[in-house]
Symmetry: D3
Subunit: 274 residues, 6 copies
Amino acid sequence: MIDTTRSLTQEPLLLADLSSPETRDLLPRIDLVLVPVGAHEQHGPNIAVSTDTISADALCRAAAGLVGPAVAVAPAIPWGVSWHHLRFAGTISLRQSTLIAVLEDIVGSLYAHGMRRFLVVNGHGGNNAAITTAIEQIKQDTGVPLIASVFGYALIAEQAKRLLPTEAIGHGGGDEAALVMAVEPHRAKPSAFTAPQPTGRQVETAALLRAYGGSLARRYDEVTHNGATGDATSATPEVGQQILDGASRRLAEIIEVMLREADAAEETHQAGSD
Amino acid sequence: MIDTTRSLTQEPLLLADLSSPETRDLLPRIDLVLVPVGAHEQHGPNIAVSTDTISADALCRAAAGLVGPAVAVAPAIPWGVSWHHLRFAGTISLRQSTLIAVLEDIVGSLYAHGMRRFLVVNGHGGNNAAITTAIEQIKQDTGVPLIASVFGYALIAEQAKRLLPTEAIGHGGGDEAALVMAVEPHRAKPSAFTAPQPTGRQVETAALLRAYGGSLARRYDEVTHNGATGDATSATPEVGQQILDGASRRLAEIIEVMLREADAAEETHQAGSD
Amino acid sequence: MIDTTRSLTQEPLLLADLSSPETRDLLPRIDLVLVPVGAHEQHGPNIAVSTDTISADALCRAAAGLVGPAVAVAPAIPWGVSWHHLRFAGTISLRQSTLIAVLEDIVGSLYAHGMRRFLVVNGHGGNNAAITTAIEQIKQDTGVPLIASVFGYALIAEQAKRLLPTEAIGHGGGDEAALVMAVEPHRAKPSAFTAPQPTGRQVETAALLRAYGGSLARRYDEVTHNGATGDATSATPEVGQQILDGASRRLAEIIEVMLREADAAEETHQAGSD
Amino acid sequence: MIDTTRSLTQEPLLLADLSSPETRDLLPRIDLVLVPVGAHEQHGPNIAVSTDTISADALCRAAAGLVGPAVAVAPAIPWGVSWHHLRFAGTISLRQSTLIAVLEDIVGSLYAHGMRRFLVVNGHGGNNAAITTAIEQIKQDTGVPLIASVFGYALIAEQAKRLLPTEAIGHGGGDEAALVMAVEPHRAKPSAFTAPQPTGRQVETAALLRAYGGSLARRYDEVTHNGATGDATSATPEVGQQILDGASRRLAEIIEVMLREADAAEETHQAGSD
Amino acid sequence: MIDTTRSLTQEPLLLADLSSPETRDLLPRIDLVLVPVGAHEQHGPNIAVSTDTISADALCRAAAGLVGPAVAVAPAIPWGVSWHHLRFAGTISLRQSTLIAVLEDIVGSLYAHGMRRFLVVNGHGGNNAAITTAIEQIKQDTGVPLIASVFGYALIAEQAKRLLPTEAIGHGGGDEAALVMAVEPHRAKPSAFTAPQPTGRQVETAALLRAYGGSLARRYDEVTHNGATGDATSATPEVGQQILDGASRRLAEIIEVMLREADAAEETHQAGSD
Amino acid sequence: MIDTTRSLTQEPLLLADLSSPETRDLLPRIDLVLVPVGAHEQHGPNIAVSTDTISADALCRAAAGLVGPAVAVAPAIPWGVSWHHLRFAGTISLRQSTLIAVLEDIVGSLYAHGMRRFLVVNGHGGNNAAITTAIEQIKQDTGVPLIASVFGYALIAEQAKRLLPTEAIGHGGGDEAALVMAVEPHRAKPSAFTAPQPTGRQVETAALLRAYGGSLARRYDEVTHNGATGDATSATPEVGQQILDGASRRLAEIIEVMLREADAAEETHQAGSD
């Protein structure tokens, strides 16, 4: 069990840092590859379009640093499915099919080298359906023993709810702004921090459908006038660091459970085939 | 507001019942089209492979009957994304891309005739990612004012939790078996009703990832030996009817909210463009 | 040889009625799967848009009932390729690629369970090219011993020509209307029964190309003003039942020939590899 | 009306002969483009793999020569859908999707230049489904006033039946061999002319399904041992020329009907929009 | 080593000339298949749209004649990727994906028959990216020992630079016009021979990007007013024949090197696996 | 004209640094977007798999810094088409279709915001065909005034040839190693620097085909045993910085030419439409 109270972490193992022979030699000791998926998408006036890439990548690096070199981090996918934000300047959106293809290619390549356990860490809600589709497709095609996803923002929001006022939580809100201030300060825009401007439209519909496992397809300009749904004014870098520390500890714990149960499942499987 | 206490409902408006001129004449009065999506997938020994199609279709018909002829029901899609069940005999699975294409074609055709509001009612969890992808794609391509999805099983489980023991709830369990007994009795197999045979593998991993908005890609034979995760032995047709009545009332309420808020959004939009 | 004079048939074996273990146990005895393909397409004022689905499904069920439980029926595909009818309200059209994908997925799934003989029974002429493409693709990809298609409407028209005046035969005409009256009476609209309103355009061209194995791509509003090419006014449910009985007997005879010759071909093949 | 008794024809107008400015200047006078589609597929020992390309191209050139320069000929597509012949050496097969794409690109390009009437002349039965799919797709996408197909071999067989014994008619048989002898003599192999070697398998099944508008998906080695179903021994170049003359006269007549009815349809259409 | 000084060549081995049994018997002696890829694309007023098909095919036939029957020639692909010429009448353009699919199908079919070495001879620069993509995809999918491409026009231009003034070299210029005059004289238009009409736009940009391995995506009407960039007025059939002779000798030499090195690589490979 | 002698550059304008309103406000002043494309691919023992991403991104940033804020830099695409390196551990490869889709989505999104000039700066030769295909497709689909590509490694090699011995130039060689040492020192592995281990196979073939505009499809293990073709032992960070400075100055000059000629072309175009 990792000691999640320690504040100092190791340097994370980044695949991009390695030469090919180094990768080859480390392969037997890599138990899991984290694949961060971000977005290049408007977050209102408060923070840069790279926010979700920053948060997914930072979570992966911090968690990998906590768990140690059995967990490697792939290069972050720096855009996601953001068609609903395209009316706000600067947003780059992949089609769902493109993101699925990118994930298939990344995981398929690493699988070809012998890696067998993958966790996609997703920084942007709009990517969820494409990621689920991709990992199911990869599982079906390759039979890979472990492929899974986690929504990194859920980890972040869990921490933020304890540290920030309720109205801070949301797209482009204080939770995300604080994290950006801590990790890439020049991509936060504190002089522009402001409250969200929700349109108030279809609020109950969206909540009901979400509560019953569904969703309402909406462009974001139907949701908010300034592109944000959270209030960034309470964000500070200190809170951002606390959010990141807490969320990455939680992610490290999840990883520990994943690896332990995956080991057990493989033992069962091997015993069953004796 | 509909009176959701009444027990008798009207006959639902089914698109398949209409001739072309009848459809043309009714078009101005159709406020919403429900599109049921099912599955043709093993549900253990307890119930037929058509269970999820039965439940999605029954929910749509009952809710449409409650709300009245402003809500029409499209023919049910009788299969879904069930690759993870293919090792159990009888399962038919669409690829995700196929289900997405089918939904695009159905909604695209109806949109061409002038219909503008759509709710996909999904009977099978494995379809969720494809349905989300499809409705977002349709929204992006057509700008349709309202397209959304709801997970019908979430409506059913909500009712079942009040009427059946906890262990009855689950795939192929008492909740689904009861509903099939009520709607298509010859597709329930009471003489085979039995308890589930979970493998116990990766239980905590799956729960953690789900709690944080992610998922674990698994074949169902990695989850349960007999294909079920719920205990069907407590199912009765009476409970099934109660589940269907309660769930369809809830769905009718959600539809009322959707239509009311959609009307309001369109008024706002028109006012805004004056 | 089946006794095609008997008027009473058994209940057909429907895949949708079975649980997974029931399917598994029946698999060794299922010699052929019928896959009905319909349409959701305007048929003029006379009959509902579901006409071709009704006829394909009814033919399959009746023929399967005649031949017995060695022939199973898959769930009907409730839409087809109907782009040429989209200017008439109510029509839902799949792209050709979608219908091909659906057929690949259905047959591919059943093939994975060990089924080896398939007959697609098509209720709608517009589906023919996509179905031919699909079954050739499936043959090429899987090497399945028997995959074939038959145009159900050709079986129906053969009977109708003996029972109805010539002008009754055609799209939305008395042949189809009679069958709908017999099978799903509420989907026939006798009060609207009327004669067709052909445009008279390109009649000779279409006939010549058809005679020489080709076709003329036309929207149906280029062919007929009211969407029908047959006269429905002579339709009665009694004639409809006679059409269905005769056509399903003929289909049962075809199935007998298919199975007998397929058995012989497999014996030859096995003898050849000794 | 063309004088179909004349034996001398003009040089056909070939698009490949023209420079771009020549094409531009001729465009207003081109009423129809013929698109020959062939195959590169085994025809038994009797004739070259290019047989169907030769026949489709020869038919188009001869018919265009008869009708005159209002009819242009596109370059022949020198392969087709021949997956079922791939076990015989030399066969090149396009996937159905490839042939559809090629046709879409050819017709789409010519449509962009203002051409509005197209007839695909198909030399190979295995192409029929893909060609039908393609022309329907093109009609749907562009609304092109006239797009159609004809099966050239049906025109050839009609003539051959009057000139050759019944057993000569068939794949790689005397009808095709005679035509090749007349048009490209070095691609006929008279020293190898022989009778077909049918397997005798599934003969009744195939005939029945064909009679009822369906088909049986088969590899050609399931049909014939030496790749032919017709007897080439009676073929002569003189008969080949007679076949070609008769078939191209018939094609010219069909083209005349097409153009006359298309003119009438456009007049009706214009009158209707006045 | 072939004697490239001889002026008379053998008849080239064309796959289209062979029957299936002839192909089967020759297969062990075919060391290489040449696949000519052309275009159907405007070349200004000087020459026909089929110019690039003519040149690719002529090069392949001549080189195959020089090397002898170990080198076979596949039917030429008579169109290419010419979207940038579509504003000039007569151009037919394949999408890149279509050309890739055609190449995959041709080579895939021949590979299935046992052929193992392929050289795509490309007559049109616009095809280069699609051809490179296709041959890499084929290599990756099949592991075929030798698949490569050469730009036939580079071979032609090398010769032309020695025989014609500099301004003659270019699209639709004297180099191509001379070759067409030699090979298919009726497709050259000497009465229309003229100088090019370059727009002068982005000349330095295009040259710089090309010098550094890149490219500028341009429609050809942005490059030249009359569709040509070379001056055709100096073209003669004699020069055309000299160009063809020289270029095909050079191609034959390249083929010799390819085959010799491929033999050596296979020996090394076999030695390595002993 | 920029002063390419100055050694200090401005901070480059990175799209990822901007919030949405900042992007909106800067849009009118952004004349060009650079899109760096890299690879995640083995480079022998000498340098990390991220080498090509490092070099493409560094070139773009340095050149953008030289030209000033009229040139913005998009996030680097951190992988490319590297199927031929997949037998060396660590390589991640996109399919060509995936890279094309990613480029279409990135440029398509930015085009939707009003950006109109794009230069793809490619760090990896294996990407060239896909990038050419993508920019031509984008040009065809959108008519974007300026879209082009440049091969960054050609810029680097030009400098390196003046600063390093000939044998240093090549894949994973001293040129690339020096640049990585200068930009991301921890991704160079000087203790492992070594000479390449070429196989010597098909050297003349590859050179000849390249000289004539073609290519030879090869896996990289057919080319070199240790994954490198250049000798890294002469690399130093100082040389790397000189290479980067020289190459980015050259890139800045090219950009200046592009923008100047694009301005001129637009003026001509506007004058033409007056």
